[in-house]
Symmetry: C5
Subunit: 89 residues, 5 copies
């Protein structure tokens, strides 16, 4: 899993019917110190994340598990909202 910051939303009226009602959040990947890394992606949210929050997200074919529906074509999902990161370097 990686962490990211929710920076926006994307609206798509015409879409796969399994995505109807899905909340699609634009997520900026962060390193563990909070610096932006890589490009933003779209992740489906099921934990109630909002813009500005730091989240944990998964990528790949485990993302549908977060949606609790089978065979949903999503490849990224927000699975937690970060309270605290403890780095012991």
């Amino acid at each position: 899993m990686l962490i990211g910051k929710v920076i926006g939303t994307v609206i798509a009226t015409r879409k796969d019917e399994a995505l109807v009602g899905a909340k699609l959040l634009i997520t900026q990947p962060l390193d563990m110190k909070g610096n932006e890394v890589d490009s933003p992606l779209i992740a489906v949210d099921t934990v109630g994340a909002g813009v500005g929050e730091t989240v944990i997200y998964v990528s790949g074919s485990v993302a549908p598990f977060a949606v609790r529906k089978h065979e949903v074509p999503v490849d990224a999902a927000i699975v937690g909202i970060v309270d605290r990161i403890d780095l012991q370097l």
Copy 2:
């Protein structure tokens, strides 16, 4: 999921029989501001996307879910057409 712009089509007469009838669109990945990033890929379309449209696509083994057929060898699928992106940076 990522966004991209449909920039063309690819024609393949000899192909895996599960792909017969599939609409294969060449998709240029974009960042959330609409700039081109990375190289184009081929995505199967099931939402009626056309050349010039900005789309949401999935990558990897969730792509067959968009096709609603089991065991189709596709690793990218267009799952939505972007109406609007709201960035709150």
Copy 3:
């Protein structure tokens, strides 16, 4: 899916038994204009591709779908032979 050019073959006598009889082709990834990008990979072929042909290939865990056998350890498969690419930039 990406496109590539078949540039060779690989022979392995000792191999996973699910791969016995599989045709393993070395494939050089191309961009949509035909330029070489990235490093060659080995893809299993099930559509009768030959050296010098431009092909469509899939990567990842959907590759076994092309082989029509369950649980075959292949992570790339040629699924079509390109007739024509239409770019409308």
Copy 4:
């Protein structure tokens, strides 16, 4: 699989219910000589790894297998603690 060093923990109170009780460790990827490579990621731990230990981790959709629960949205898991690496270059 890759190796990494556990460098911290992440706390998330609001999260996917399948992750309740999961131990989420921040893992810094290492090369085989122990140098840091790439950015840290979050991996679920099921083998009792602790901060400072060098571990083996898997990425992608096989990570849930380590958790022994079906359909858990995790994409990285620590599957072993490294005792020794023998390089014969």
Copy 5:
């Protein structure tokens, strides 16, 4: 699939129980001309590969297929030993 050279072994006493008895080999990715590319990874071996041999390996969630056990958390597996590479550039 990619090719690599086996350059060592990794020993982990504490590990996922599905990995008990698994032979974990450190594999240096090679290009098709035998030059080293990218960083070494750990692949499970089921074809009897040894240090110094050039092998074919798979990555991702098809790797468990090589182990012939379900739900084993491995993301790379050696599936063949290379006898010959024929490049026709």
